[in-house]
């Protein structure tokens, strides 16, 4: 099985694998494979492979193998690990088969599967798996810790170990988890690059720029750790880590200037008009369909050129970059030596340590459709149909475009709140060979369904079943905006079949789905909480204020020393004024002149007198009260 999977890899990777086996036990190679795709896209596959002898691994001696990851693997007894971060969609109708037959990609979001040594016990394996996901979560800044028991399944037929586990294979347990909602972004790329020996500072890894990588139409980051015993008998086995980044970039989008990425309407001179249309004119332009491939340069597509080489003990024949274009296309490469191999479509480049590497290709007018991309083993779509909050239906269509039947394993993991009605499971136009089914347990375990199917030649099989949507407790809704719940993609593995050996071991994944559950209007309780909190705050605030504050009459307040100073000053001024008769006379004359004012001021004087009396009375009252209260 493993050998056939390897054979199906493209030649470049196979070449790498074989060079690895013969290289020294501590080795590191990196490689970039570039392939222009139809519809102005470019596929770039970065591969970084490091190995360490198993004995060195056991004694914690690392050179190229990342220590941080190795320690996690050692601690959790993980013998083989596969981790994927994926966003976007691979357009298999336009671009054909998936890169490396889909073996180095995952479903939308994060996917993780590993063989853990459980020492014969499922609980031990479960604990170790839990430790593994939690440690990886910290290492990769991803919410891997959310892969709990409800998201973990134990696939039966979908995955086979890639590594050589020898006799230990029997004790290993496979666990698999997916996080379809996880948004893969820069914070996952940085730790990924940190695991590399050159840490993104030299070599092809300098091309991995978050801005461009995460603007790709499809992108998948993968980490695969496995033991390899390729060599002759007696030679030591090595532990190999393959880090790969695979992406499909839109060339026009990537070629936009960094300071002005807005896709404004092109200038009319730049639009290619179809002049055969009768109405073509100065203000009317029917755009021609794009058939060729636009010009592109490596430095513009990835934001900058590759700086130097990650030159760590490699042989002279090793190459860093492969460009797969027809041999008659002019290619301008700078900063690298071109190696020639007897291949018509591949050009190999070896980076030099001191200069920066760039590739530039002029626009290519002949349509790419001439050599159409290899057709994928299978076209698969999966959709949720139905409407309303109670029920729904899952529709999966599997189209076999080939002239021979396909045997495949179809694996689905459903969250527990999506309860399938297995009696409604129908397969139209195909044959169901076997079924592995683990029913869900509310809040404990999700549904795990694996089907072995045979799809006849050139036909479309449809798999449908109905499901019920569970009602969640209000605390089980995530705290963020409720767009629905993501359902993990289905994983399809093509099995070896007498008539179609070339697709054996390839994987196809469907897109993830959105499941809308009955959702209470959370803004309503929010409003209620806000309102009640306000009322309580007001009520409690004023009550607390009343209870803790002591109320005293104004007279009980000890007189401020400043008030005495002010009164003395005022008396002093008054005394001075009283002595000066002229001023008093002036005042009196002004009162006579304006009788009204005089009256008002007199009235006011009386008022103040009254007040003074009141105060005096109050004083007396207070004295009374004190006298009464004292005995």
């Amino acid at each position: 099985m493993h050998l056939s999977a390897l054979l199906s890899l493209p030649a470049s990777l196979a070449f790498l694998t074989f060079t690895l086996a013969s290289a020294s036990p501590h080795s590191y190679t990196e490689h970039l494979h570039l392939l222009p795709l139809p519809q102005s896209h470019l596929h770039a596959h970065f591969n970084f492979t490091a190995t360490t002898p198993l004995s060195a691994y056991e004694s914690s001696h690392f050179r190229y193998f990342p220590r941080s990851l190795a320690q996690i693997l050692q601690h959790t007894r993980t013998k083989e690990l596969h981790l994927r971060f994926t966003t976007g969609r691979w357009d298999d109708e336009a671009w054909g088969a998936r890169p490396l037959d889909g073996t180095r990609e995952g479903g939308t979001g994060v996917e993780l599967w590993a063989w853990v040594d459980g020492e014969g016990s499922t609980t031990v394996a479960k604990e170790r798996w839990s430790e593994l996901v939690n440690s990886l979560s910290g290492l990769f800044c991803a919410s891997l810790n959310f892969i709990d028991s409800t998201k973990t399944v134990r696939p039966v037929r979908t995955f086979e170990p890639e590594g050589h586990h020898g006799n230990a294979k029997g004790g290993l347990q496979l666990l698999h988890g997916m996080l379809p909602h996880e948004v893969v972004c820069t914070e996952n790329l940085t730790p990924f690059l940190k695991l590399l020996p050159c840490k993104g500072k030299a070599g092809i890894s300098t091309l991995l720029d978050g801005h461009k990588l995460f603007d790709a139409t499809w992108q998948s980051m993968a980490i695969d750790v496995r033991p390899v015993c390729e060599g002759k008998a007696g030679e030591e086995c090595v532990l190999e880590i393959q880090q790969s980044v695979s992406m499909a970039l839109s060339i026009p989008r990537s070629m936009r200037e960094r300071h002005d990425p807005i896709p404004r309407p092109a200038r009319i001179e730049d639009v290619e008009c179809d002049e055969s249309k009768p109405w073509n004119g100065h203000d009317t332009c029917f755009p021609k369909a794009l058939t060729g491939e636009p010009a592109w340069t490596l430095s513009k597509v990835f934001g900058h050129a590759a700086k130097g080489a990650c030159d760590l003990e490699r042989d002279d024949q090793a190459f860093d970059v492969t460009l797969e274009v027809p041999s008659d296309r002019p290619v301008n490469a700078t900063g690298a030596s071109e190696l020639t191999f007897p291949s018509t479509t591949r050009r190999h480049y070896r980076l030099s340590a001191s200069s920066s590497f760039d590739l530039s290709l002029p626009a290519h007018s002949t349509p790419l459709g001439q050599n159409s991309p290899p057709s994928p083993p299978l076209y698969a779509t999966r959709q949720i149909a139905g409407h309303g909050q109670e029920r729904g239906s899952m529709h999966t269509t599997l189209r076999n475009p080939h002239a021979h039947p396909l045997t495949l394993v179809y694996m689905e993991t459903l969250p527990w709140y999506q309860r399938p009605y297995m009696h409604t499971l129908r397969l139209a136009n195909g044959k169901q060979e076997k079924m592995y089914y683990t029913p869900a347990l509310d809040r404990k375990r999700g549904t795990h369904l694996e089907l072995v199917l045979t799809i006849p030649a050139e036909s479309t099989a449809t798999l449908t079943y109905d499901f019920e949507k569970a009602v969640l407790r209000y605390t089980e809704y995530p705290p963020d905006a409720n767009r629905g719940f993501d359902v993990a993609p289905a994983v399809i593995r093509i099995l070896a079949n007498n008539e179609s050996p070339q697709f054996a071991g390839s994987y196809v994944r469907t897109t993830s789905l959105l499941l809308s559950l009955p959702t209470p209007d959370f803004s309503m309780p929010y409003n209620v909480i806000i309102l009640t909190s306000t009322v309580i705050a007001l009520g409690f605030g004023s009550l607390f204020n009343l209870l803790t504050r002591s109320f005293v009459l104004a007279e009980e307040v000890p007189p401020s020393p400043l008030a005495g100073v002010v009164r003395r000053m005022r008396d002093l001024v008054k005394g001075l004024l009283g002595k000066n008769g002229d001023v008093a006379k002036d005042e009196e004359s002004s009162e006579v002149k304006d009788g009204k004012t005089a009256e008002i001021s007199r009235y006011m004087r009386e008022e103040t007198k009254g007040k003074a009396n009141g105060i005096a009375n109050g004083d007396a009252d207070l004295r009374d009260r004190r006298a009464r209260g004292s005995p």
Partner: protein
């Protein structure tokens, strides 16, 4: 104590027995008056965007420049395609979509209604958002023929140009589906039905095929209706259509977003129900409210968007109106901005209102303010029903004086005790007579079952026979009550019970309907209002007056009136065909409500009046 004793004594008061009809009349007046109050500032509110994520008009729109040249070419192309055969047209549209980088598919559909077949093909393309995860989608609709059966040249061309322009952006969080159905009503309906269908061949009764290509959950749909020909025509304002099937409405936020973008960002005036000159006066507001009630109560599709709303996909149609200075690029930028706003949504539109009545593009009445009108109307039937039920259990002796005559004989009195309260009441008022419920209940059931005959006739006859069917139904409807009254021979008590049961059912159904389709419940409540007031009367004059009132407000007469008022040009046959299509293809409940709810209640009202005539004619013998 004194009060409770007095209330106890009131049990036998003639006043109480006389009260229900007056209360019912009050309810009807309040219900109608309530609607007239709604346009006032005190009862309506300014619209506002409730969902923070939408951010309407906050983005700069770039649609313009060379896109205008491309638009002109596409408009010519659409015109050229319109001259070709149906197959060539579809192939041409699919090619333009495929060249813009969309995944394309088509879906044929055929409906058989009233001996006619509705055929067409939906052509659509999916623009997969480059960074989207295939879980959500929004729909841009441009029907090949618009709702008025004109070819939507500029609308389709604009949609194609926008699809090409949108495909260059990587900001889309949702896929964009560009749907070009053959017609504006049944194409979108077939498509959205098939999109949500649980079975693989969507439905056996409706001959629509499955949608071969899908793209996640639909979040919103915007339809363009711009039938300007190949040389274009500028427009003065945008008419926004929002009514869904069966009176369901899209989320008010979507409408507000479109209005605020069109009028705020682009300076294009927005109208509703084609009220071009809206001075925001009471009169104009009331007339928009009236148009809204009319379209909502009919419940038929008002544009390509209507089919989406029952599936909880909020949708509107932007229709260009008049001759002004806004060009296609302005409409394109409005659409671009609306799609950017929908794209911003993190969750399904849920914040704003789903139940509202619009008074103009930026004034609305919320459900709490208008719902009581229909509820009060429904209540008028319930009150009458309760009053009749009480009367049906009373002896004639006491009831006779209430009916007008004066009882001369001495009324026997007795004391009643309730706790410590004691009261002296007529003996008759405490005695109940046996209610013979069997015949009224059976009659009511029978009449309700009979209602399915006109429903079947009006939905299943072929087009030529529809008119004949309606005439027969009218004749039978008007004569049936008399015939039933002559055969069943109800007693006074039974007639009251029959009317009471019928009214209580009508009241309950209308109250339920008011929560689903407010306008239909309101209109029906007003039309059926006389049913709460007709009484069995032996006076020939009163019976004749009641008979005429009932005949004028009978369901078949309403159909004739509907044609005269709203479709004077189209003719009755066309209207009947549209109604039949609505029932069979669109799934509109209107006909069921008319023939299954209103018609039986009306027949019962007629039987009650008729039984009075019969009893009067039999008495002298």
């Amino acid at each position: 104590m004194a009060l409770s004793a007095r209330l106890l004594a009131l049990r036998g008061s003639p006043f109480l027995y006389k009260l229900p009809p007056y209360l019912s009349a009050l309810c009807v007046l309040v219900g109608i008056g309530w609607i007239l109050l709604l346009p006032l500032n005190e009862y309506s509110r300014q619209t506002y965007v409730s969902e923070n994520a939408i951010l309407p008009g906050q983005v700069h729109t770039y649609f313009g420049g060379s896109e205008h040249n491309i638009f002109r070419a596409f408009r010519q192309e659409v015109y050229a395609l319109s001259q070709q055969s149906e197959d060539a047209r579809q192939a041409g549209v699919l090619k333009v979509l495929a060249d813009s980088g969309l995944k394309t598919a088509s879906q044929p559909y055929a409906y058989q209604v009233a001996g006619e077949s509705i055929n067409g093909t939906n052509v659509y393309g999916i623009l997969q958002g480059p960074r989207a995860d295939a879980t959500e989608a929004m729909v841009l609709l441009a029907a090949w023929r618009n709702f008025d059966d004109q070819i939507n040249y500029s609308g389709v061309a604009l949609a194609l140009t926008l699809a090409r322009y949108f495909s260059r952006w990587s900001i889309w969080s949702k896929d964009i589906i560009l749907l070009i159905p053959s017609d504006s009503t049944y194409g979108p309906l077939a498509w959205v039905d098939a999109y949500h269908s649980i079975c693989i061949p969507p439905t056996a009764s409706r001959n629509i095929s499955a949608v071969p290509l899908k793209a996640g959950a639909l979040q919103a749909a915007v339809a363009l209706d711009y039938p300007a020909g190949p040389w274009g025509q500028r427009f003065s304002s945008l008419d926004i259509l929002y009514d869904g099937l069966n009176g369901a409405l899209p989320n008010l936020d979507l409408l507000n977003t479109a209005v605020s973008i069109a009028s705020g960002q682009m300076g294009i005036a927005c109208t509703l129900h084609n009220h071009g000159t809206h001075s925001d006066s009471y009169r104009d507001r009331l007339s928009v409210l009236g148009s809204g009630l009319a379209t909502q109560s009919l419940g038929h599709a008002t544009g390509p968007h209507s089919a989406f709303i029952p599936y909880h996909v909020d949708a509107i149609t932007l229709k260009t109106v008049g001759d002004g200075w806004h060009d296609e690029m302005s409409l394109g930028r409005v659409t671009e901005s609306v799609f950017r706003s929908i794209n911003n949504l993190l969750e399904h539109l849920h914040q704003s209102f789903f139940f509202y009545i619009l008074l103009n593009a930026n004034r609305f009445v919320s459900v709490g303010n208008y719902l009581p009108a229909a509820m009060v109307l429904a209540g008028s039937f319930t009150i009458s029903a309760l009053g009749l039920w009480v009367l049906s259990g009373r002896d004639d002796v006491l009831v006779a004086p209430l009916a007008g005559g004066m009882a001369k004989e001495k009324v026997e009195m007795e004391t009643v005790k309730l706790g410590s309260d004691v009261a002296l009441v007529p003996r008759q008022s405490t005695r109940t007579i046996q209610r013979e419920l069997f015949v009224p209940a059976l009659s009511l059931l029978g009449v309700h079952i009979l209602g399915y005959i006109p429903l079947w006739l009006m939905t299943s006859l072929s087009r030529e026979n529809l008119l004949l069917g309606l005439r027969t139904t009218t004749a039978v409807t008007l004569l049936l009550p008399l015939a039933l009254a002559a055969t069943i021979r109800l007693t006074r008590s039974q007639a009251q019970m029959l009317q009471s049961l019928s009214l209580i059912l009508l009241g309950a159904l209308l109250a339920t309907l008011a929560t689903l389709n407010f306008s239909l419940a309101l209109v029906l409540g007003v039309l059926a209002a006389p049913l709460a007031f007709v009484r069995r009367s032996s006076s020939a004059l009163v019976a004749a007056a009641q008979g005429i009132l009932l005949a004028v407000t009978s369901p078949p007469v309403a159909v004739y009136a509907l044609q005269r008022m709203f479709y004077p040009a189209a003719g009755l046959e066309k209207l009947l065909l549209e109604l039949a299509k609505g029932w069979s293809a669109q799934g509109v409940w209107l006909l069921w409500v008319v023939w299954g709810v209103w018609w039986p209640a009306w027949i019962v009202g007629g039987v009650v009046v008729g039984s009075g005539v019969m009893s009067a004619s039999s008495e002298p013998r």
